[in-house]
């Protein structure tokens, strides 16, 4: 945080969170708020990826589930379940979107050396949904490409394949 100017080029301030045992990271600048679970309203007929809306401070915002984009199973809600509200530029202007998370960790910075382009082989997820991968304490962190995911509304769900052999 000290040398913000330099960091913007080779480091990424991110919020890390879990989805079905995998660690994901979102650019911290996008994040507006992290909420406890709140009553949801299902929207019949919508894409499964955004099957509900919630009341976020008097606004009705869509609730998206990244797990569906990555073909991860949707487990039951736990005491750790959260909703990460981000503001994202969609067609028609900046839009608040809620993202489900199984657990929210911390805001941290990913160094450029840690991040790598998503390898095309050895990964059965849609590579266009992944902006980059980062290694951290032997763990692999996925930075999803929200633009691509949102544009395709989560796309077709792929097979559930663990990212790393554990």
């Amino acid at each position: 945080m000290v040398d913000d100017m330099n960091q913007s080029a080779d480091a990424l301030q991110v919020l890390t969170f879990d989805l079905h045992g995998e660690t994901f990271a979102l650019e911290a600048g996008l994040v507006r708020e992290v909420l406890d679970l709140t009553p949801e309203t299902a929207v019949p007929g919508s894409a499964p990826f955004v099957s509900a809306v919630i009341n976020f401070r008097g606004r009705v915002i869509p609730l998206a589930d990244l797990r569906l984009a990555f073909g991860l199973a949707r487990g039951a809600d736990t005491i750790d379940s959260r909703i990460v509200v981000i503001e994202y530029e969609l067609e028609g202007g900046p839009t608040l979107v809620g993202l489900r998370a199984d657990k929210v960790h911390e805001v941290t910075s990913l160094e450029a050396v840690d991040t790598e382009e998503a390898p095309r082989v050895g990964l059965r997820w849609r590579t266009d949904f992944i902006r980059c991968l980062a290694r951290r304490d032997g763990d692999l962190i996925v930075v999803p490409d929200l633009g691509q995911i949102f544009a395709t509304k989560g796309g077709a769900t792929g097979a559930v394949v663990p990212l790393h052999q554990a």
């Binding site: 955004v50 008097g58 009705v60």
Partner: protein, 665 residues
Amino acid sequence: MSADPVETFRQEAQDLLEQIETGLLDLAHRPGDRTLIDAVFRGLHTLKGSGAMFGFDALAAFTHHCETAFDQVRKGQVPATAELVAAVLDAQDHMRALAEGREAAAATGDALLARLHAAVAAAAGGDPGAEQAAEPVPTATTWKVKFSLPADALVNGTRPLPLLDELRELGPCQVKAITDNVPPLAALEPTECHLAWEVVLTTEHPKAAIEDVFIFVLDDMILEIEALGAPEVSAPAASTPAAVAVSEVAAPLVSIAAESSASETPASEARASRGGETVRVPAERLDELMDRVGELVIAQSRLKQVAAAGADPNLRAVSEEIERLAAELRDTMMVVRMVPVAQLFGRFRRLIHDLARDTGKTIELTTEGETTELDKTVIERLADPLVHLIRNSADHGLETPEERKAAGKSPAGQVRLTARQAGAEVIITITDDGRGVNRERVRAKAEENGLIQPGAVLSDHDLLQLIFHPGFSTAAAITNLSGRGVGMDVVKRTIEGLRGSIEMKSEPGQGSQIDLRIPLTLAIIDGLLVRVGQARYVIPLAAVEECVELSAEQDVRSTGRSLITLRDQLVPFIRLRELFHTGQAPDPHQKIVVVSTGQERVGLVVDQILGDHQTVIKSLSAFHADVETFSGATILGDGGVALILDIAHLVAAGQRRDAQLRAAG
């Protein structure tokens, strides 16, 4: 937006041009109406003035010529002939281009001015144009100009120095400040103007030029212009002795003042552009405010629940107070967003004028109910569909004068545009007395486009509705006017997007009528809150006709057929829980909410009717834009979200499903 003075000017110019246009169009019907002439003159004059103030010099210079022409009309020197009005009307487009900063060819402007001058000259008739004759023989005259400004002039932004500079530009002058009214230092208010000036000016320009210098402050100031010595008064009054000229000086001044004050007061049409009476607010701010009011209404209903649950009478009293205030605030807010449809209708008079010119038809537009008010957003979104509908009426509906005469009608085609409020809706009707819709052609076209099977039996109503089908266009040849890529289907979709409906009636040989039913506002509606499964939904109350119980017996009998008999009429119904895949056993006492969508009456089967709900409409994000079943969402008193049913699309979805069921079974 509001901070940019140029933008502010553009908006003002827009309004002024609209005002001028309305005046001109009215003038075409009532030539010689003083009020109209004055209104047009005032509009042109203000446009010139503020144009110059904001650096739109080309606009100011151009407008000046039109103003001069109208000044002559105003003074009764030339009559407002049709040619003159038409010339100014055309010139007005040029002004609009200049005001918007578009590149406008100088040649166009010159041509327009030439036409204007010709029109003025023609209007003046054999009597050579008064002013034009005056210009070639300018004679220097010495004037004594005394003026003082009101005390608050400086505060209001008037600066005396430029005024003096402007006088200097007219000719050599001696300026003397009159300090008689300057109070002693202790009482001196530095922001007030206590000075008066006396200027002796020798100029070749007419007296009007001197008055023009003060034209923006004329209303409040004291101005005396006296001719000194024996002036050679220009052509029209060439033989008038000096004494008469002097008395003339005072008279027009008084009359100008009288006119401006007289015409200002009844001028409901002239929107006061001066501060204090009207405030310009960007529409987004109103939207924001509306959002806040919406949130307040939601918070208030939560408070009401809390208060009702508790036993504290004080809390309940406060809650009721807040409820009343919130309701009043909401109503006030709605009124603020309402604008009269006159704003919309005004544009069409010009459209008709142009259409008449382009088609060679004589078209008379009559409007009614212009004071009917609609939400501003709705008005804006209605403009394009209405333009299209009016074009259609004028282009396809109305016949040529010859055809009309042959059909025994008056040669002038009538287009009527009316607006009236009916409950929570405004009904806008476009009627023409033309040839009506050619059923044969509609059928042929529909068959050609594969919309219907050749020889299919259709009711007259269904046949007419084909016009609104995507890709349908009745114009055999696409003319310049209609069919610019926008079809009636787009019109229909836009109207439905406003939660409105469109309906067409047509009588062969007698004309057509199109009714648009538009909800008053997009922001808040009255809704009926219902429960389907666990979820709650809002049905726009305006669409609800009645609520009946679906008896167990009917329920069983209607399985598969989904029709009930309601007062001897078969009404199809849609089981919302099936449509929404709630996947639970239905409640024992289901209800049917009968809604109507223009023609179709349809029942919606719900589990429970929860009651009335003031619905603050929130739009759904782009993610849910394709879910047509819902037109939006709202937040309920307990903080939950309820989706608002889009009746038109829901009925369509239900019918599709019905068709599938029938095909399958």
